[in-house]
Amino acid sequence: MQNVASPGLSAKERVLIDQEVTSHEGRPGALLGILEAVQAANAHKYLSMDALRYIADKTGTPPARVYSAASFFALFNLFPQGDNTICVCRGTACHTRGSRDLLEKVCLDLGLGSQDLESTSEADKLALTTSDQKFTVRTVACFGQCALAPVVEINHHILSHVNERTLQREVGALTRGR
């Protein structure tokens, strides 16, 4: 009976969610804690619809509220993330030092759609993943490292004063390991 609401969920994932639901029970902000833990445990760092449905079911939360929380916070991913994450800062300082060009360049190099880029305005959060699931390119509003602008973070490693050449080199190193 228990996997009726989430046929696509593996037994392992179900056990994990059961555990998280139990350990967060009765705590304020439980839902966010559960979502965070479940995403962190996922191999592709995302929350699948099956997982969300199962979490709603287990916590007795209306599914719409679960989806609302998961889609509101930039922390949560609703799609599988690439093995490597390239995060380009689109804050004011980085923008004035050319971060848009960096973003466009890296997307171009990885073959990510330019139409997606155009349809997202400056302030939007962007997260594009290559079809081979190797790279995810995303943006943030500011790393708080404006003196080092433009800033790009690759796999949680901050690169400062980035230009197209250095970015290409760093990404290239990862691509060769592809």
């Binding site: 619809m49 969300l52 449905r53 709603a56 209306p62 599914p63 719409a64 509220r65 679960v66 989806y67 609302s68 889609s71 509101f72 305005s121 302030a123 939007d124």
Partner: protein, 239 residues
Amino acid sequence: MPEKTISIRIDGELVNAREGQSILEAARDHQCEIPTLCYLKGLSSVGACRMCMVELAGTERLLPACTTPVQDGMSLRTKSEKLTLYRRMAVELLLVERRHICSVCVSDGHCELQAMAKSLGITHLRYTYSAGRLPVDMTHPRFVLDHNRCILCTRCVRTCEEVEGASVWEIASRGIHSRIVSDLKDPWGQAHNCTDCGKCVQACPTGALAEKGYGVHQMVKDTDRVSRLALRRASHLGA
């Protein structure tokens, strides 16, 4: 326990209000009409539309009447040039956020947004539409959701949760990407807890939620009925 009575001034007139009442409720008790869109009597107030802004003597900041509780000695203005300007701007921005094409809408002539625009003398838009064409969900056997007409007032969200107890709707994402969603953004027709009661449709101020089978300007909503049910429910729960 008898409620404490406090006195406030609304547009110069001294009126009595009950402690805990919102400015809006106090004003309406005394036949003072403050325009609203997201407020619906009987439902909780969220302050989403900014239509009900009023001026409080002694401060520059405008206050939303629907979510601000009355306080002893408040002196409020509900009508002024400044307020009209703000309300106009708020309605104009609502209108450009989605593709509101009244002439082909089921709610043409019965739409609260349209009526509000009319009362504020808005005849055309000074800005371009900020959203492209959005989808229309026709999957429910009896009802339709047209995102192009939604003003994100959350009246449907609150009605479904507070009156029907089904909690089908929520707002997903944020900013310009905000959308009303049923369940996990599932088609409405597949929403698990929807009882097909139609209350959300009746509560919706625009043509965003409508019943199937109605033609242009035929859809008249019965919001009073939703309010009545909401109040019955509240009294039943002893709230």
